[in-house]
Symmetry: none
Subunit: 252 residues, 2 copies
DNA sequence: TCAAAAACGTTCAAAATCTATCAAATATGC
DNA sequence: GCATATTTGATAGATTTTGAACGTTTTTGA
């Protein structure tokens, strides 16, 4: 059997089985475990699957769970600080749109004392205050995007198209002088409506986001009122933003 | 079995069981308790679950976090059985509206294998499958009714007014020959839309609901296709319903 | 309150798996 | 056809994972 055919069979088998051992795959493609090992290493480098001890695992294309667990574990201190700073900055008794994503989630965590009205499409944010009673939460409708707990689709877009709010707290994948970008196309339509609906737009961006471009364009810089970031954000990136009239707040 | 597969099975099992002992898990994944212990320690560090003495539980005991109502915490066994029976009764690949409330929640718990499309205004139900990927969940919008985790208000009503579904799985406070009644006025408008939207209407009612009248009128009996109840339901109440052409299914 | 029982964390050796390497087998180019 | 390059399967030593043992801590029930 050709190498390519072997690899094709392996990925196909994983699509069905989700997990598989070296033994099993070796038998399936009628090759030695050494060969299968090599195939798996190669396929992993191409992002087709994830090697595990003793075998391999399927990576679902939807498994963008990194936003809420993996990526979250990196800059967690910074995000926590940004969340606190942003929450402190927000006046009481406002209606606040909270974007889906880790950064905005950390803001939501600190909002309780401001007795806001929260409007969101994030299931984790909704769960934060679902049994609280002190904070009124409006959840947009939509289809649940698996593993992220974000509500997406036309129902979500429409929910935001019909409301107004004092503040929108947003996150994104990157910011350059050409505007703000984000990675998930599904989210962009919703985020655009959020920005439209809010009187004041606040972006929470940790220092890794500056100068970075993500897949899709979300909005121009003149739609942004305030950016909240951490101390490690490069001044060279911040200064041009200030000159455009954007308020910049840095954590200490 | 691979380590990751084991861990996935453990978390999946906990999603359903909410709590599980080491013994039980060890048997489930066919590994020693030592290994399961290690898995649990790891999964706890990732925030997937909470270790307890003797086992582990869900980090958010999803049904317990929301206090549905006091009387609902009784009859748990019956509701569990009704949930299983109802889930078994439903064909695969249907679009299913799930009412808010404990009884319908128990049905939702058993629906995974039917790969349904779930449409609901219940946050606990949404959380059940939020990280699943196998089950598509559409959540209506709305204001979160505190402590119940139910989405209510015009946004919720409107969400259901614009959709259609194969089946609606409903619960209520009481049923008499004069119709079905429920206690929460806020819910009734939504439930009416649910019933309208569905081709087939199934009510899950434990035996305490028969002959009982709640505050507000929800619907007439001729709008009901099927009733699923437990073995203790009084035959004297069931017979008139059968004569009206309603299908009655009892658990054993 | 106290003692028995259950469960916990730690440690350790065995088993399984990994990486690196190398010779044989196969394919490729001239 | 022959020399060379690539792929394959096997082996050896390092690494990781596993299951069991043991002393300690927590829970249970009288």
């Amino acid at each position: 059997m050709q190498a390519e055919e072997r690899q094709k069979r392996i990925t196909e088998h994983l699509q069905k089985a989700e997990f598989s051992s070296l033994e099993e795959l070796s038998e399936l493609v009628d090759a030695s475990v050494s060969t299968v090992r090599r195939d798996l290493t190669y396929l992993e480098s191409k992002g087709q699957l994830k090697r595990t001890h003793g075998g391999a695992r399927l990576i679902q294309p939807k498994s963008e769970e990194f936003i809420f667990s993996e990526r979250d574990t990196h800059e967690i201190d910074e995000k926590e600080k940004i969340g606190k700073t942003c929450a402190d900055y927000i006046p009481g008794n406002q209606s606040v749109i909270i974007d889906a994503g880790t950064t905005a989630y950390h803001v939501a965590k600190h909002l309780e004392t401001k007795s806001p009205q929260i409007i969101t499409n994030s299931l984790p944010v909704a769960n934060l205050y679902a049994s609280n009673g002190m904070v009124e939460v409006i959840l947009s409708g939509g289809v649940i995007y698996p593993r992220l707990g974000v509500l997406v689709g036309p129902l979500a877009v429409e929910s935001f198209s019909r409301i107004h709010a004092d503040i929108a707290i947003m996150g994104s994948g990157g910011i350059t002088e050409e505007g703000i970008t984000n990675s998930h196309n599904l989210l962009i339509d919703i985020q655009k409506e959020m920005i439209r609906a809010a009187q004041k737009v606040i972006f929470c961006l940790d220092h890794t986001k500056f100068g970075r471009k993500s897949v899709s364009h979300l909005c121009e810089l003149d739609q942004v009122d305030t950016i909240i970031t951490d101390a490690r954000a490069p001044q060279s990136s911040l200064e041009p933003l200030r000159q455009r009239g954007i308020e910049i707040i840095q954590t200490d």
